[in-house]
């Protein structure tokens, strides 16, 4: 039950969510530097927010902070999300044993990343929260402050647009 939820420490949040926050930011921006900045900003906000956090939907609370921090950072930098940087993906999976398969994976992940970045922000955010972060529709709705039906619609439209962009029909 929500009332029995234990409030995590900041250290727990940082260790449990640091990587996924970074990946959330990277899939939205395609920019590793911006993603590091965002991760740092989110964890600072979490550190402050935990002082007054009351047990409830922790995922919704955390991702609401993350989303707000992301939008603030974007406004601060006054620039749109940049293009994908496939080099980062390449470094991540370069240790795989078969070079040809690795190259295919890099090409595919680059294509998906680029297609993600071309989605309107609302759709991209919903798809990333669902398929990269692994949030439920209700958690996404809590984080974004929209009805669950809107989340459902955004995810469906986002995936349909990605499907069309990737030519997988």
């Amino acid at each position: 039950m929500a009332s029995q939820e234990a409030v995590p420490t900041w250290e727990q949040v940082a260790s449990d969510y640091g990587r996924v926050i970074y990946n959330f930011a990277y899939r939205l921006t395609g920019n590793p530097d911006d993603s590091s900045d965002l991760t740092q900003e989110v964890l600072l906000r979490v550190r402050k927010g935990l002082r007054t956090y009351t047990p409830g939907s922790f995922e919704g609370w955390l991702w609401r902070i993350t989303r707000n921090a992301f939008l603030d950072e974007i406004r601060k930098k006054q620039r749109r999300p940049t293009s994908a940087l496939p080099d980062d993906d390449r470094s991540t999976i370069a240790a795989a044993p078969a070079p040809e398969e690795v190259l295919d994976e890099v090409r595919l992940s680059s294509e998906i990343q680029e297609a993600l970045l071309r989605l309107p922000y609302e759709f991209r955010e919903a798809v990333v929260m669902c398929d990269v972060v692994g949030l439920t529709y209700q958690e996404i709705a809590d984080a974004v402050a929209v009805p669950v039906g809107t989340v459902r619609s955004r995810i469906h439209r986002g995936r349909s647009m990605l499907r069309d962009a990737l030519g997988s029909r």
Binding site: E11, S36, K48, T92, S109, Y137, R159, L166
Partner: protein
């Protein structure tokens, strides 16, 4: 269920439909090849997104993944925090002294938090950086 309920297909894949919706959609899919193809294509793209590699934050940033787990002992954090606060005071002092008026709207708490947060993931960062400021 009238027409093609394509707007339900993604939620169906995510198991986010009610039992009634699942029942109706399953019945429809059994007789509609068009919706079945649509479902298959959405399932494919969903799988592709979920198969994207999980990226490691760069170690230089405050990416805070594995590095944050071994926190510094409390005495060290306290010392680092105190030094960070001292550095902020020094910086403010320099700002005031350089032009004769307190024109720098420095947010002490934010600066302090940043130093403590960074210290918890980057061993030695604060001591070295803060000491450099203090020594200056």
């Amino acid at each position: 269920m009238s027409g093609h309920p394509t707007d339900l297909l993604s939620a169906f894949l995510d198991e986010e439909l009610s039992s009634t919706e699942v029942s109706e959609l399953t019945t429809h899919l059994a007789d509609c090849r068009e919706c079945q193809r649509e479902l298959d294509s959405l399932a494919a793209v969903r799988l592709q997104i979920r198969a994207l590699p999980v990226l490691e934050p760069p170690p230089a940033g405050i990416g805070v993944t594995r590095e944050v787990i071994p926190l510094a002992p409390r005495w060290r954090r306290t010392l680092v925090g105190a030094m960070a606060a001292a550095a902020v005071v020094v910086v403010v002092g320099v700002g005031v002294g350089s032009n004769g008026r307190a024109a720098v709207p420095l947010q002490l708490e934010q600066a302090f938090d940043q130093h403590v947060a960074r210290a918890s993931v980057d061993s030695g960062f604060n001591v070295i950086q803060v000491q450099a400021v203090v020594d200056r």
